[in-house]
Structure formats: C-alpha cells, structure tokens
C-alpha cells in the first residue's frame, strides 16, 4: 500500500492502480483541495457548487446559483451542512459571497489568474446534474473579455475545454498546483466552460465592506405627489417609507422615525430597497451617509453616522 499524508488526511492508494506520476499527483492535489469544495443548495430545487474562501465561513459561488433565494444551505465534503446567509451578491459579475457560522473551514488556495496562460492544465470540481464532487480536466482555451448582459461593460473571462454541466456553476477551476484560478460560471453545451478569473473575484471580495453596513430600518416603497417648494408644482415621486426603525441603530441615533420617507441617499434617488442596499454597499468607506427625508410636508437633510456600535450582521 502506498499512503500519502495530505493535511493530516491519509490517502490510501492501492499499489499498482496508479502507476504513473501524473495521475498520482492529480489524485494528491484533488485530495488536498476537495474538502474546500462545497455544494450550495437553495430551497426548492437546484443549486450548484462553491468553495471556502476564508476559514471564517466565507463561501464564494455564482450569483445565479443563489439568485432570488432567501434560504441557502452549504454542504461540506465531510457531511456537515450549514445554513448560509447571502452576504453579498453581484449579478453583473455573477458572483455571490455566502457566510456560514463556522471558524474552521478548509479555505481553498487562490492563485493570481491574471498570470494564466493558454494551454495550462485546469481542473473543474463541481456537482454536475447533482452528482457530487465530479472532477474534469482540460486546458485554458482562451482568455479575454465578454460583454456583461445589460450593462454595456465587459468582464474578463477564462475559457476552457473542461467538460462541465449545470451543477458545476460556482465551483472552482483549479490549476496544476491545486489553487483556484477561476469560478466556473457559464456552460456552453459541454465542451466549453467560461470561468470568472479568480483575481476578479478576489478584487470584488476585497472591495466589499468588511462589516455589514446597516441603517436599522424596515422600508416599503411608496409613490406620491410631492409639491416642489420652488416651482410650486406637483411631481410624482417615489421613495421608501419607513415602517420600522430599530432601537440602537444608525437610523434611530440619527432620529429617523416611522412614517418618514427616504427620497435619496448619498445624492442618489432611492426608489426601492435594492437601490438603498447598493448605496449602503458603495458607501462603506465613508462613515457618513446623507439622506433626503420627506417629513411633515418638507424635505429634510439627515446625516446618518453608519459607524458605531453595535454592528449587527443583518441586511437593512
């Protein structure tokens, strides 16, 4: 028997079955990375793959794997299953960051995908058609730009000839060293996979707030006729009606009250919860957020101090 220590795990390899060095190294590498690959399940059916980004429970997957789901669960290779919160999501990049309550997860090694070369070996690990932990091999077929739907922008991509299927989405694309160089995202009929380069994901995660920014309000979108003070003319306006203000939150400390209508945040009109969420996400470097609030027939400017205790890890 040939046995190899990998991260305190012993892989037993029956002698004679794996006789060539390439196969042996592939098996070892996959043994090392495997525990970092997770299955992401959402309520109802469907789901995909993901991988442990940080040992503190941060999981990266595709946005489209979790899109529209409130409850998502993450299943580890060792059988553990965790409920996961969607910490952040970016439809344009097709990325989502999940968080589970754990501190001991095996984080995947992430490499700089900007150095990827056409022809390099890559391995996709995922759960095609729900079949768990399937590994496929190929090479980097191309690197370049693809248009991002509806945005007019382009995003970098890695194309590969690894064989993938639905269920691979969100899973890691590994290089020969077993480090993540991409996140399998789009699948074109079997022999063409498009992955989001890992450096794009790393930049995205690095730009996210280290702490959740929250106002501490419950809102409902409203539309009403607003009498403009200068022109004395009415204009149809949309905003967010505060239907709840939590105690001891930035909102309560700034004096926001139930019945107030937020018209703009940080200078941007706020028409729905998404917009407010975006503004909060974009505003993490500034601690102060300027709100335009309609109260008692007039528009007031309210400065909200977003920093300060307590930090609560829930969305607005």
């Amino acid at each position: 028997m040939l046995s190899t220590m990998v991260e305190e795990r012993t892989i037993e390899v029956p002698a004679g079955i794996i006789s060539d060095e390439v196969s042996h190294e592939i098996v070892q590498m996959l043994g090392r990375v495997g525990p970092s690959v997770v299955q992401v399940k959402r309520e109802g059916r469907g789901g995909g793959a993901g991988f442990v980004w940080r040992s503190d429970g941060a999981i990266v997957t595709n946005y489209h794997v979790i899109a529209g789901s409130r409850s998502v669960s993450v299943q580890m290779q060792d059988g553990r299953s965790f409920p996961a919160k969607v910490l952040n999501q970016n439809p344009a990049l097709d990325l989502a960051l999940l968080k589970v309550e754990a501190n001991d997860l095996p984080a995947a090694l992430v490499d700089d995908s900007s150095k990827l070369r056409v022809g390099e070996l890559v391995f996709a690990v995922g759960h095609p058609w729900g079949q768990k932990n399937v590994v496929t091999v190929g090479i980097v077929s191309g690197v370049g730009q693809v248009p991002v739907l509806g945005s007019g922008r382009t995003a970098q991509y890695v194309r590969s000839d690894v064989r993938v299927a639905p269920g691979n989405s969100g899973g890691p694309m590994l290089n020969a060293g077993g480090a993540v160089v991409g996140i399998t995202a789009m699948i074109f009929g079997g022999d063409m996979a498009v992955a989001i380069p890992s450096h794009v994901a790393a930049e995205w995660v690095a730009g996210l707030p280290s702490r959740r920014v929250m106002l501490g309000v419950a809102v409902e979108p409203v539309e009403f006729e607003l009498m403009l003070p200068v022109s004395k003319r009415e204009r149809r306006t949309a905003g967010l009606l505060l239907v709840g203000v939590d105690d001891d939150t930035p909102a309560s400390r700034a004096g926001l009250k139930v019945g107030d209508v937020i018209l703009a945040a940080g200078g941007r009109p706020v028409v729905d919860g998404e917009t407010l969420h975006d503004v909060l996400s974009d505003n993490t470097l500034n601690s102060n957020l300027q709100l335009h609030v309609f109260r008692g027939g007039s528009i007031n400017e309210v400065a909200v101090d977003l920093v300060g205790p307590p930090q609560v890890e829930t969305a607005s």
Partner: protein, 302 residues
C-alpha cells in the same frame, strides 16, 4: 490551508509545457479573413506563406490576415485544393518565423488544437491523437492518403489552425470541412507538400483518361485468373483523349492501373494523382475474356 504547492511536480511541469507549446506556436498563428461568417485561422508554414483551410476561403480577392502582434495585412490568394481542404495565401512583409513541423503522429500522444479565431489572442483545446488513418475519401472529389483524428475540441474558427505536439511543432492542419464536422488534421507531411505544389502551380495536378465508366461484377469465369470481384466497364471513350490514344475501347473492363487493382471509381481517382500525370502507365483491361495490358500516357485534368 496548506500553501505548499511551490515544489513544482510533474503535473505543473506538464501544465507549463502545454502552455509553452501554445506560446511557441503563437507567432505563427494568424487570423484569416476570407469568408462572410466568422474568420478562420491559418499557420505561417514558410516565410511569407500562410496555410489555411480551403473551405474558409470563400473569395479569392479582398483577403486579409491578422497577426499575433495585432497587424492586419492584405493577403494574396495563391491556390487551393478542395480534396485536402487546404489553401495557401501569400502575405507581403509578414516577417513571422514559420512554424516547425513535427514528426509522424502517434496514436495516444498528447496534442493541442490551436488557432487564432479573434483578436482575443490564441485559443487552444487539448486531446490526444485518436487515430491515424487513411486513405479516406474526403467527399469533395478526392482522396486523402493519411489523416489524423483527434478528440481535441474544434471551436468555431479553428479550421486551418494547426494541431501541435507538446513542443509546439505542427503535426497537421486541422479542419472540420473534410468529414462532416469531425475534427481531422491533414498530416504535415501531406499538408506541406500540397502547399508547396499550390505555391508552385496554384493547384494540385490530377490525372485524366477521358472515359466514362461503370462498376461491374466480374463472374468468376471472366476474371481471367484475377482475384478481384469488380472492375470498371468503359461506357464511353472520348475522342482525342489519353484513353483513346492508348487504345482503350468501349466495353473494356478496366481492372488495374499501374499494377494496382481498380475495383471502383474511387480506386481509379486515387490512382489518377498528380504524380502519374504525363507518365506512360500500364492499364490492364479484360477484353473478350482475356486480360490485355495497354500503355496509356496519363493526361492532366483542367
């Protein structure tokens, strides 16, 4: 997490070698603009000459190529050979080092299909040599003496690009135009020779007899001791043609050319290749129950 993957093992070496191969062939890979739809690929096989897929050259004027360093250059049509799906273009001031040719392909060896279908840089897919076969009828009026079959994925725009080995040397020219979408490569030994002929003459010479024929079954009594079961009965012999001048007659059953058996029209087409043009060759026919050998000087098909 264990970060120690620095001690590059054989897997990393293999990965690097594959990427090195793509990098090495890269400069010799060009984008070929010769059809309405998406461009195709080509490879610089000799100084100033680009080998590409014949089926991707839909016009013989207004051709251009794009190089690895982003230059877009006008290309002149040199010649085409539909039976091997190869065409040659000449490009002034190309100044690109021609690709290296590899040795004989071996079944099972690792290969890369490489191409430059767009400005996004080279593209590649990997596989192995699945089979080396031939001769095969190409369905375009010709025979290919030898072909390489691979399981590497031919992406759109890959026709005309090379199939390379892990050193970046060219094993063949990839095309999906010969076998109904299946990725075949014309081996370098044939492709380079065809390209040289196209460069010298603009086309591939094909032999010509000047007959119409029909395959017939040979009853054992009429085989005159031969083993083959079929031959070609001449149903027309055109005037002032090599066949007529060589003495072939209507009703003769052609059974061999240059000592090679002729069972059907494909056999005959394969034997009427450019090498025999202009040469007197023995042709065996069954006439009146006897085998007769005539000498015919093979003409050239226009």
């Amino acid at each position: 997490m264990d970060n120690s993957n620095g001690n590059a093992g054989i897997l990393s070496s293999l990965s690097n070698q594959l990427a090195d191969a793509v990098e090495r062939i890269g400069p010799a890979l060009v984008t070929v603009y010769g059809r309405q739809r998406l461009p195709s690929s080509g490879v610089v096989y000799k100084q100033g000459l680009v080998l590409t897929a014949e089926h991707a050259i839909e016009r013989e004027e207004d051709l251009s190529i794009a190089t690895h360093d982003g230059r877009k250059l006008t290309a002149q049509f040199v010649g085409r050979d539909p039976s091997s799906d190869l065409a040659v273009l000449r490009v002034q001031d190309l100044n690109v080092e021609p690709a290296q040719s590899s040795g004989e392909p071996r079944v099972g060896q690792l290969v890369l299909a490489v191409a430059r279908p767009s400005e996004d840089g080279p593209m590649a897919s990997q596989g192995i040599v699945s089979a080396v076969g031939g001769p095969v009828r190409t369905g375009r009026g010709g025979m290919l003496e030898k072909y390489i079959r691979t399981d590497a994925t031919p992406y759109p725009g890959f026709s005309g690009g090379p199939l390379i080995d892990t050193t970046g040397a060219v094993l063949g020219i990839l095309t999906t135009g010969l076998a109904g979408g299946v990725a075949l490569a014309v081996p370098t030994s044939i492709a380079w020779r065809v390209a040289d002929t196209l460069t010298a003459h603009g086309r591939i010479k094909r032999g010509y007899l000047g007959i119409s024929s029909q395959p017939v079954y040979l009853p054992e009594a009429q085989r005159a001791g031969r083993e083959q079961e079929t031959g070609l009965m001449l149903v027309r012999v055109d005037k002032d043609t090599p066949a007529e001048q060589g003495g072939l007659l209507l009703g003769d059953i052609l059974v061999a050319l240059d000592s090679q058996p002729v069972n059907d029209v494909d056999d005959l087409q394969a034997l009427l290749n450019g090498d025999r043009v202009g040469n007197p060759v023995p042709i065996e026919v069954i006439r009146g129950g006897q085998v007769q050998t005539l000498t015919v000087t093979i003409g050239q098909r226009d």
